[in-house]
Structure formats: C-alpha cells, structure tokens
C-alpha cells in the first residue's frame, strides 16, 4: 500500500508541476503578445450585451467594440488593462452601465454560473491577478477551468501564426453583435413590471468594487471613461431606475455617466426591451459618432436638443 500511495503522490506532484508550468507559460505568452488594434480606433467599447448590441463599430468609426454578453466588470477590467496597455492611442473607454449592472440578483450568475465561467475565465485569465481568481474559489471545477484555458491560448497561437489573431480576440473578448430580430412585443408581454417584482434589488459589491477599479485605472492612465446606458424601451416600467440613480449619485460621482435610456428610437428598432437590433444600433452608433464629444461636455444630451427643435 505504501508503495502505491507513494507512486500516486509522485504522479500527483508530477502532474501538478506540468499543469502549473503549462498554465503559467501560456499565460506569460498571452501577456507578452500585443493585442494591437487599428491606429485610427481611439475609443474602446466594453461591457455586456447592451453595448454589444447597441454600438456598431462600422458606423462609429473611431470606436472598436469589445463587448460580450454576460461579461462582468471583473473580466472587463482584465481585458481593458491589456487593451489600453497595448494601444496607447486609446484615449476613451465607453463602458456599459445599465440599470441592472450593480444589481446583485442579476449579476450573481455572472460570477457563479459554471457554464458561463468556463467560457469567460479562459478568455481573460492571463490578464487577471491572483486576487481576481479568489472571487471564483467557490466555483466547482475551477482547477479544471484554469487547466482548460491553456487550450484557448494554443488556439490563439494558431490564429497568430495564420495572421488571424484579431478573430480570436473578437471571438473571446467580444465584438458588435448584429441582432436581426424584433421581439419587443413578445418581450414586453413576458416581462413583469419592476414594481410588481417581489425581489427588490440589492447592490452587487463585487461589481461595484471592479467598477471602481476600472475608474481608478482609467484615471491613472488618463483615459476618459464614459459609463453608458443604452436605450431602453419603457425604462420606467421595467427597470429599477431609482436604485440606479441612487447608486450613481452615491458611488459614481467622479465619473461621467451618459444615460441614453430615453434616446428616441422607434419600437421596431429594438430587439427586446433593453437591446437594440441592427437597425437601432446603426442609428444609435451614427448618433454617437456625431454627438458623443458634445454630449460629454454638456449637461443635456444632443438628442434632446434635436427633439426640441
């Protein structure tokens, strides 16, 4: 028995050493590779499905969209650090900041859903710190997810050799997503107005912590950070806008928030209540291209002036 247990321990140590070397080496490699974006792109768009569907970077030419559905601020922070460091021309970051972005109920699964994390952790692991990983310690199978990530970097290596590494980056970190449908009526029917919901929102401290880290990082790098709320259909009815306003005033006084929930958009240009379809995204992106700078400097967004005319 002693011989058997000794053999097992020997193999376990050997396996651990190989596993650690593989993961570390692949992470070091990923860190060392530059994620260059075109020089004429000085605005990074990051965040979740709202910006992913709303900002079409073929219309908003100075921007490049790296948003991806269900990406928490923890991952956004990791990806943003890498992209800003590798691309000194980036002077602005537009970050998705929705009514639900700091809501614990909505965000919980972004931090503990194993299927989701199996996708997200490998994409961002090399750019995360050890303390970031601590957030996921309770996730079953975390070692397996970490080990599996090395395969993702092998795929990156293949893409890089073929000169298609941007495809890997867009695939893993995110890109504009064209929604071709219009399910607004169905979605309105299916949704419960916020007031009728039994559960009231609680603050997600993890989301807030990482949002603060993003704010501080951008400030240190002298990058303008814009928290952006994309257009929402009947937002007063379906969102907890009061908590949103409260949290914004309490925790985010030092950052510019552009709230386009009210942005005038036809019903047929929504994919669902809080996501634009490709036609909506096209119009909204054109608007940003033209008016973002002005909206940043004035208290009142340009579209309100346009409407007033």
């Amino acid at each position: 028995m002693k011989h058997f247990i000794f053999g097992l321990i020997k193999f376990a140590v050997f396996f651990l050493v190989v596993a650690v070397i593989t993961v570390l080496a692949s992470c070091i490699y990923m860190r060392s590779v530059r994620f260059d974006i075109p020089d004429d792109k000085n605005i990074l768009v990051m965040g979740d499905s709202h910006t992913e569907c709303a900002i079409d970077d073929t219309e908003f030419h100075r921007a490049i969209n790296f948003s991806k559905s269900a990406t928490s601020y923890l991952f956004t922070f990791a990806g943003m650090k890498k992209l800003i460091t590798d691309n000194p021309q980036v002077d602005t970051v537009i970050l998705s900041y929705q009514y639900s972005s700091l809501n614990e109920e909505n965000m919980k699964k972004w931090y503990d859903d194993v299927t989701l994390l199996q996708e997200r952790i490998p994409s961002y692991l090399p750019f995360m710190s050890i303390s970031d990983l601590r957030v996921f310690l309770a996730i079953p199978g975390l070692p397996r997810i970490v080990l599996a990530s090395a395969k993702t970097y092998l795929e990156f290596y293949g893409h890089r050799r073929n000169g298609t590494y941007m495809a890997w980056i867009r695939d893993n970190l995110g890109a504009f997503r064209q929604m071709n449908d219009n399910n607004i009526d169905k979605d309105v029917k299916a949704r419960t107005p916020y007031e009728n919901l039994k559960k009231k929102s609680r603050l997600s401290t993890t989301q807030l912590d990482y949002l603060r880290k993003i704010i501080n990082f951008c400030r240190d790098r002298k990058v303008t950070l814009i928290l952006l709320n994309t257009p929402v259909y009947e937002w007063r009815k379906f969102t907890d806008y009061r908590s949103y306003e409260y949290n914004s005033k309490k925790y985010l006084k030092d950052v510019r928030i552009l709230n386009y929930a009210d942005y005038p958009i036809e019903k047929k240009h929504f994919s669902d209540v809080s996501h634009l379809n490709k036609w909506g995204a096209r119009g909204f992106s054109k608007y940003l291209e033209k008016n973002l700078a002005a909206d940043l400097t004035q208290a009142q967004p340009q579209y309100e002036k346009i409407l007033l005319k």
Partner: protein, 480 residues
C-alpha cells in the same frame, strides 16, 4: 452517479479508504462496506428501485439454498422455475410490457380489429437487465451443481450488486465472482496501479471519443435527409466508434474500479474492431453477455451437438434474444437477426472457430486488414439499425446514404473539428493495436517504458480529457 463525474471519483476514494483501512482486518467488514457503498451507489440513481434489487437478490439467494437443499429433482426444478419466472417476469414487465402491448395492438389492427390497448408509463430500473442476468447465472449454476449455494446473504448480495458492475455489467458469473467475494483480498500495488490506468483509459474513450462522436451522430441520425450520403456513412462509422468507446470505456472504468478493490471482473471487450469475421467479433464484443447466452441458452438448447438444423435454430434464437435483450424495439430484433444472417455462412462452412484462441494476437497482413475492414463495415451497417429509433428511420437513413438528395448541412462544421475526432480515434486504435495482447490500452508494463515517459503519457491523456472532453453524456448501455 455517472462514472465520469467528480462525484464518482469522490465516492470511489471514500470506499477505497474505508475498504483498505477501516475494513482491513476482516474481509467480512470489507464486504459490508462494499455492499453499503453499492446500495448507496444504486440509490443515487433511483432509491425506489433499491427495493426491487433487494427483492430480486433475496429471491435468488433463497432459491439457491432451496435448490441445493431439495432432495428431489422436481423440487429443485420448482425452485429454479420460481426464481427464473419471477426474475424474467420483472424484467419483462419493466422492459417489454409496453412493447408487447403495442405490438399486440398493431397486430389486431392489421386484422382490421380496433382495440384500445392500455400502456403504462413505466420507468426502466437502471441495470435491471444486468443484475437479473447475474442472479439467473447463480441459480442456473447452483441447479447444475457448478457452484455451491451461498449461505451468507451479505456475500450473495454483494455478488449481485457490486457497484462497478451493477448498472451496465460486465455480467458476472457466480463461478467467477463469488469465490472472490468469499475469500480475503490482498492489496496489490501493481493491480491497483493498473486499475487506475484502466480507469484513465476508459475515461479517455468515453469523454474524448464517445461523447464527441455523440454530438455528430445525434445530428445526423436526427435529420438524415439534411446531410449528404458520404456524411451519413461517416456518421454511421462515428456511431460504431461511439458505441464501442462508450461501452468499453464504461467497462474499463468498472474493471479498473474493481481492481482497486482487489477484484478481477470478467473481461467484456477484446478489441472487437480487430475481428476478421463476425464469429470472431462476437467473441470479442460484450463477451460477458455472449458467453452468458452460450452457457445458459445455446448449450442447454443442444448447441451444435444435434445436427446442423438444430444448430442453425439455436443460433437464430440466441441472436434474436440477444437483440431483444438490448431493448423493446423492433430495430434491436432486426439487428439481432442481421447478425445471425452474417453468422450463418460461417456456421455452414464450419469456419466458426477459424480465428478462435490460437491467434489472439492478430497480425497486420493485407488479407487480415481486408477482413478487418470488411467485418467492421458489416458491423457498422448493423449499428445503423441499432441506433435508429424505428425501422422507418433506419430505412430512411440507408436510403439517404445511397440516393442523392439536397443536403443543407455537413458534419464537417461542428463544435469540434470532425477531423480532430478521427485523429483521436486513430490514436485509440493505434494504442489498442499495440496492446492487443493485453487487457486494456494503457497496460504498458510489457514494454518497460521509463517512468517519466509513462507519466508524460498519463498527463497528456488527462489534458486531452480536460481540453477535448465533451459534456458527458449518459452511457448508452444504461438504457438496457
């Protein structure tokens, strides 16, 4: 509790520690630990059927004692019929009730009679075909005097419900497993180490090959009309490897788990796709079921001792029942019949044992390669019948292979490159070809491979599971 889950790994570890440390002083305590663990393992599937398992166990235990104690052959026969009848009654009810009722309804309909036949929403107790056959082998062996009845109920219950073989075999024989249950086991580092290697090999076959093949196979069998003929043919080949890697992978994990506990279970697969004819295939595929039918059905029916006509009849019965054993579906019966038809020419030419015994180690010659490919192709055609939901689906599948049609999809565009799956299959075949004289694909000792190289191979295989292992699917044979 699937064999491929962390839960099973934890369960096995706990049993291993309790078994070899807490129960080290007495094999009786070890048996108790194993029995409790086995019942827990079974209850984790569906605790309600634990009662059925216990009832079946107690019935056969009692029948065994009564058969041995009975002075007259009539009384012996009574207890045998009692046990066999009740066991097959349960099996028939849970597995075949709806099938026969439906078929009866169809038959009446074909005669123009409309009859409302009741069907029941019956859940099939997992492993019922396997533990029923375990129990039957015991009562047959006691009846035939091949084995003495077991007086210790714990020993007998463990023989029937030993967790590695409880839900999908191998179908053990009383003459083989009971003596091991009744005697103390000694720990052998070599045996346990090889058990771990066999588990690893089983996991690779199941997670890396079978479950990845399953994704493509499910797609093509669901909508055969949407794929080109060549893709359907490749889909059938992938199913051949899926079912082999799924079932033999399961068996490897079962055998490996048992070896960790000092037991040697019956071998169930001997590299069947290296067979040179159908007779050899059936000596290498699901060996424990084939040999069960041979011992308890084919030979009692007269085997090949009563002329060619009786031999053909007996062979047909065995193949048909072997098909029906797999499930209540006409496709399984036709599959059994198809194999019987493939077997007949070999039987008639007296070449049934041409490749038996003397040359287990198949040599790579052109004629052998040709025979292996031919046998594999014939077996693969049979697998289409086996995999299809109904005869009409099977016919549609065959038709779409050969008749050109508008194909909207292809199997080459899926979650994991199909070429990658074939690379894994090639690797598996290469490993098993190299180890074909041994009992599993990772049994390296013969080659005297240096430790560091062996460790590296294990690490690569673990990485292959982590990197390429698909979302684990249920083992195919659990439904039987």
């Amino acid at each position: 509790m699937l064999f491929t889950t962390i839960t099973y790994a934890g369960f096995l570890l706990v049993i291993f520690i309790l078994y070899w440390f807490a129960g080290a002083k007495s094999f009786r305590v070890q048996n108790l630990i194993l029995l409790a663990g086995s019942y827990y393992f079974y209850a984790a599937w569906d605790w309600r059927f634990l009662f059925l398992l216990c009832f079946s166990t107690f019935l056969d235990y009692l029948s065994g004692i009564q058969i041995e104690n009975s002075a007259s052959s009539r009384a012996k026969k009574f207890w045998l019929i009692c046990s066999v009848g009740i066991n097959l009654g349960f099996l028939g009810f849970f597995k075949y009730f709806n099938f026969f009722i439906d078929s009866f309804g169809q038959l009446l309909k074909s005669f123009g009679m409309i009859a409302s036949v009741p069907t029941l929403n019956i859940i099939l107790p997992v492993g019922i075909s396997f533990y029923t056959f375990h129990g039957l082998s015991y009562v047959f062996d006691v009846y035939n005097g091949r084995v003495k009845s077991t007086r210790n109920v714990i020993d007998y219950a463990l023989f029937v419900s030993f967790f590695p073989l409880l839900v999908a075999g191998p179908i053990e024989r009383a003459t083989h497993l009971l003596p091991q249950v009744k005697a103390p086991r000694t720990f052998s580092a070599e045996q346990a180490g090889d058990g771990l290697r066999q588990i690893l090999w089983g996991l690779v076959k199941k997670l890396v090959i079978a479950d990845n093949c399953a994704k493509i196979v499910d797609m093509v069998f669901e909508n055969p009309g949407q794929y080109p003929g060549l893709d359907l043919a490749i889909g059938a080949v992938l199913f051949a490897f899926q079912i082999y890697c799924d079932f033999s992978g399961y068996t490897d994990i079962a055998l490996g788990s048992a070896r960790l506990l000092g037991f040697d279970l019956l071998r169930n697969f001997a590299y069947p796709y290296f067979s040179r004819d159908i007779a050899e295939f059936w000596r290498r595929w699901h060996i424990s079921l084939t040999s069960w039918f041979k011992s308890y059905l084919y030979i009692p029916l007269g085997g090949n001792r009563k002329g060619m006509a009786r031999t053909i009849r007996n062979t047909l019965i065995v193949f048909l029942l072997s098909g029906l054993w797999h499930g209540a579906n006409i496709t399984f019966i036709i599959w059994g019949l198809y194999h019987a038809l493939l077997f007949m020419p070999i039987l008639l030419m007296g070449k049934k044992k041409e490749h038996a015994g003397k040359d287990d180690l198949v040599r790579l010659t052109i004629p052998n390669l040709f025979r292996m490919i031919l046998t594999f192709s014939l077996v693969t055609i049979g697998w289409i019948l086996f995999r299809a939901d109904s005869m009409s689906s099977a016919i549609e599948y065959f038709r779409n292979i050969f008749i050109s049609h508008d194909a909207a999809k292809t199997i080459w565009d899926n979650h994991l490159n199909t070429t990658t799956i074939f690379i894994f299959i090639g690797f598996m075949l290469l490993m098993e070809w190299m180890q074909r004289a041994r009992n599993h694909g990772l049994n390296f000792t013969w080659y005297r491979i240096p430790g560091i190289l062996r460790y590296s191979i294990y690490v690569i295989l673990i990485f292959a599971i982590i990197w390429f292992g698909a979302e684990s699917e249920q083992f195919i044979y659990f439904q039987f």
